[in-house]
């Protein structure tokens, strides 16, 4: 018989095997006339046959399951607690894994990097000038591919129903090769298409292909009309492809629908070194390290600084691993949340450990008896171990089930701009994580009751158990305090954030984005536009909108605060000594229409805002914000001074405006300069219309749509939002993590208080007789109550002290997540400590009262 056959028989033909064994041994005994010992002989055979250890294990498991089934209450509480803990931890881990840990969804992702211009004086990363990109690509030796993405071109699709704006990107022909992606349909761009005049081809995202062309394969090779020109559809990207990067890298426009070749002029024109629209991706050659690539880039930066000092003197090049770049600003938040849920889990584990200790104490007699009967301690240990493993396995399985249900629910609530959210899901990596967690808890719980019970004589067990329980409670309180502090400062930070005065009105404002078609612009290429046409359209539209009942005023801006878009220019002030070559003052730049300040409610601090008399033919004017005035004029009055940017003409400062929070509620105001739309040096093809209403802003939306359609039937309108929604969305991430952490902290508080209650109840039950005697010999009930509460208070105080120390140390790790509050905020810490102390006292009050009610007669009778 071969081993596996034997194993099969032993495991699955058990009855037959046992019957034959019995008969065989019985026959032997009869023939030899020996007496007794049949069972021992059979047992010794069982011990050697195939699968013997497995059989013992199954036996232990069966025994454990039976034991647990007999103690249903205990099993339910332990498994339920474990399942909650493991489920919550697994759910959070799934998110962290999808966003932070999984390799990027491209082949050999460790060779991918993003390249940035680095502004040497302050180290900030900047997007890349087309001419610089051209030279980087030509001069570098470390990269298999280097490809640029211009994320700004928008295309107006006509000929397929209403005109629609498609989010577009102009990309180097080898961008998709760089990412190792193959087209789902059709072909990739070819090098010949990446030149001006030959680039009328597009690749569509699968979503756009399905949405606009019903995913009809025969559309590939046909033409579509974009910006009134014909483009040939050459390829369609696979359904699951997305350019993974930070939402902010593309000014919030990661979901491109249409790609065209970048088609840079070769060689590039001089002005293309002073504008910085490109995101650059690179794939390092196999075997090239990041450090070597960086050395290569440093050499190129040095060369460009010498050749083009005006533009590149202060610019280095930075290679950032793509994986790192993508998650840089969510890592802290996610790791904090995972740590938070981990702490809740540990607190819950402490409760289960306490339960197991209580059980072990109750079973002390059973264990002693079995040891006396000859069971080896190892055998008993194995059995307890098996029991805790069964608990852990059940908890783990339920936990996974919870995670499978919980993950989609959590994903729906994730902040909208979380990168890689599509990759979050329960997979083998998550299951491996859960298995490890469950096994670890199983081992831990197996050890806990052993620690005090199996070492030495029975007498000291109770004492040692008490100490262990005390330590568990102290740990629980400490963890709970850390969590409460974290949640407290985050909540305070969120409140501070929401209380920020953004510098403009947030109520009764409706915003929507318009896309001006080619008749208003010169294509999308940084060209000079048609100011007169734009001004006429803008005036017509604003007039119509103002006539809508419920509308108070309307105006345009190119970059709406909290809208996710921005732009800046270098400027010079008239009469000031010239800066060294390559050094500039930079301010954010905001083309707005007359009436904008009044509409959105930005106060005029000095001088005036813009009005209808600021036209393309009138004096060129500019308004600056308070930050800019303070930074560049100090106490002096800037009104009447002149500055210039984007062209040779001087612009006169006519007003100083209040500061606004543009990038985010929590971002400090930066210098800003406003220009009338009619006088901008270039065309901003996607203005936002801002409408102030007297009624609920959403109520005028339909009328606004009609007004736009009547004024410019070829002008698509999208990205409709009230200012309230934008403000709310701006605090999205902060709200998400605060809500989660607060939930964790609440769970921690609850579980820890249950733990304290359990331990104090146990202590009281152990000392019941003692309390009875104390009362019998004259102690007041109040004194006994105080005795118990003091003991609980000592544990809680120790836990709070340790928790405070830990919170002080861990605090700086979350400092970057906080706005306007220190990580170890004294007021918050004081409040949460008090809350924790009160809850701890409440949790121990019931057991204490029970102690105080101990009947002295019971104790005396017992003695």
């Amino acid at each position: 018989m071969r081993y596996f056959q034997a194993l099969w028989r032993n495991l699955f033909r058990r009855e037959q095997v046992e019957r034959e064994l019995d008969e065989e041994i019985r026959a032997y005994m009869e023939m030899t006339g020996a007496r007794g010992g049949i069972e021992q002989v059979k047992e010794s055979v069982r011990d050697v046959r195939a699968g013997a250890s497995l059989e013992t294990l199954l036996q232990d498991v069966r025994y454990a399951v039976r034991t647990l089934a007999r103690n249903r209450g205990f099993a339910a509480v332990a498994i339920g607690t474990l399942a909650l803990g493991i489920g919550a931890t697994t759910t959070m881990f799934t998110v962290v894994d999808g966003v932070l840990l999984k390799p990027l969804p491209y082949p050999e992702p460790e060779r991918l990097a993003m390249l940035w211009e680095r502004h040497i004086p302050h180290g900030e990363l900047d997007t890349v000038a087309p001419a610089n990109f051209y030279d980087w690509r030509a001069q570098s030796r470390s990269f298999a591919h280097m490809a640029a993405v211009d994320p700004y071109p928008d295309f107006i699709l006509t000929g397929a129903g209403e005109p629609r704006r498609l989010a577009g990107a102009a990309v180097s022909y080898d961008l998709f090769r760089l990412f190792g992606v193959r087209m789902a349909l059709g072909r990739d761009f070819v090098e010949a298409e990446d030149h001006p005049g030959r680039s009328q081809v597009v690749i569509l995202s699968y979503a756009a292909f399905a949405r606009y062309f019903g995913a009809r394969a025969d559309m590939v090779g046909r033409a579509m009309t974009l910006n009134s020109a014909n483009y040939t559809i050459v390829g369609v990207l696979p359904r699951d492809f997305s350019l993974v990067t930070r939402a902010s890298d593309f000014q919030g426009r990661g979901r491109f629908e249409v790609y065209t070749p970048l088609a840079l002029a070769s060689p590039p024109e001089a002005w293309q070194r002073g504008t910085h629209p490109l995101c650059v991706f690179a794939r390092m050659k196999a075997g090239v390290t990041l450090a070597r690539a960086q050395t290569d880039l440093d050499r190129i930066a040095g060369m460009l600084a010498r050749l083009y000092p005006a533009d590149d003197k202060e610019r280095g090049i930075a290679a950032v691993p793509l994986g790192q770049r993508v998650v840089e600003n969510v890592r802290t938040a996610l790791v904090t949340l995972l740590a938070g849920v981990g702490m809740v889990f540990l607190i819950a584990c402490a409760n289960i450990a306490n339960l197991l200790l209580t059980r072990a104490a109750a079973r002390q007699r059973e264990m002693s008896l079995r040891v006396a009967l000859g069971a080896s301690q190892a055998r008993l240990a194995r059995q307890l171990f098996t029991e805790s493993m069964v608990l852990a396995a059940a908890g783990g399985a339920l936990g996974v089930a919870m995670a499978i249900m919980g993950v989609p629910a959590l994903v729906r609530r994730l902040p909208a701009d979380l990168p890689r959210a599509a990759e979050i899901g329960v997979d083998w990596r998550v299951l491996a994580f859960t298995t490890v967690v469950a096994l670890a808890t199983g081992v831990l719980f197996g050890l806990v009751p052993l620690a005090p019970s199996l070492r030495t004589g029975v007498r000291s067990v109770a004492a040692r158990q008490s100490r262990l329980r005390g330590a568990l409670v102290v740990g629980q309180v400490a963890f709970a305090l850390v969590l409460l502090t974290g949640a407290g400062v985050m909540a305070k930070s969120l409140l501070r954030l929401l209380a920020v005065a953004p510098g403009f009105r947030t109520d009764h404002i409706l915003t929507a984005r318009l896309s001006l078609p080619p008749r208003f612009t010169n294509g999308y290429k940084f060209g000079v536009g048609k100011h007169r046409e734009i001004s006429r359209f803008e005036r017509d539209l604003v007039e119509r909108v103002r006539d809508i009942p419920g509308v108070e005023s309307a105006a345009f801006t190119a970059y709406l605060p909290l809208g996710g878009t921005d732009n800046s220019w270098a400027f010079t002030v008239e009469g000031r000594p010239p800066k060294p070559v390559g050094v500039y003052d930079v301010a954010h730049y905001r083309p707005v229409s007359g009436g904008y300040f009044e509409t959105i409610g930005i106060p005029v601090m000095r001088g005036r805002g813009f009005n209808d008399r600021d036209t393309e033919d009138s004096l060129l004017v500019v308004a600056i914000n308070e930050s800019m005035a303070r930074m560049f004029w100090g106490a002096a009055d800037p009104i009447g001074q002149r500055l210039r940017f984007g062209g040779p003409q001087w612009r006169t400062i006519v007003g100083v405006m209040g500061d606004v929070r543009h990038a985010a509620l929590g971002a400090q105001p930066k210098p800003e300069m406003y220009v009338p739309y009619a006088q901008v040096p270039n065309v901003e093809a996607r203005p936002t219309i801002v409408v102030r209403t007297a009624v609920e802003p959403a109520g005028v939306l339909n009328a606004l749509r009609r007004a736009v359609a009547e004024t410019g039937p070829d002008v698509p309108m999208d990205e409709v939002a009230t200012m309230k929604q934008l403000v709310y969305g701006s605090a999205d991430e902060s709200r998400f993590r605060t809500a989660l952490l607060a939930a964790f902290a609440a769970m921690a508080l609850m579980v820890a208080s249950i733990g304290l209650y359990g331990v104090m109840s146990y202590v009281v039950s152990l000392r019941r007789r003692e309390f009875g005697i104390r009362i019998a010999v004259g102690a007041s009930r109040g004194a006994v109550l105080g005795l118990v509460l003091r003991q609980a208070g000592k544990l809680a105080a120790l836990g709070i002290a340790i928790g405070l120390a830990a919170a002080a140390m861990l605090g700086r790790l979350i400092a970057s997540l906080l706005y306007g509050v220190k990580p170890f905020d004294v007021a918050t810490v004081a409040i949460v400590s008090a809350v924790l102390a009160i809850v701890a006292l409440m949790a121990s009050y019931l057991p204490a009262r029970r102690a105080a009610q101990a009947d002295p007669m019971d104790s005396l009778r017992y003695e």
């Binding site: 026959a27 032997y28 023939m31 010794s44 055979v45």
Partner: protein, 108 residues
């Protein structure tokens, strides 16, 4: 195991294999045959014999079948398989080498 002398590891297996070279035997028969061929030096007890038999059967050296013992009682008979014979040859040779080596070592 006999009190007379401790059985060396593997010796029991070898003795069982040897005892089965002539004919299939049941448990008691094997014990008797071993006592017989070792002139009573080894007296194998059930607690050693049966685990060894089952282990060797699972290893494929022995095959078993139920038959009738001399007392008209049903008993499980073991016989050598081809693998068992091969094992016996190899083990006998090894044993011969060892015992020769031991003998010469002790005389030296």
């Amino acid at each position: 195991m006999g009190a007379q002398s401790e059985l060396l590891q593997g010796t029991l297996d070898l003795l069982i294999l040897k005892s089965l070279t002539l004919e299939p035997l049941h448990g008691m028969g094997i014990a008797r045959r071993i006592a017989q061929i070792t002139n009573g030096t080894f007296e194998v007890k059930a607690g050693s014999l049966f685990p060894a038999l089952h282990r060797m059967e699972e290893a494929g050296w022995l095959a078993s079948s139920w038959g009738e013992a001399e007392t008209n009682r049903r008993a499980k008979f073991y016989k050598l398989t081809a693998a068992g014979r091969k094992q016996l040859r190899e083990e006998s040779a090894r044993w011969a080498r060892i015992s020769l080596a031991m003998a010469s070592a002790l005389q030296a």
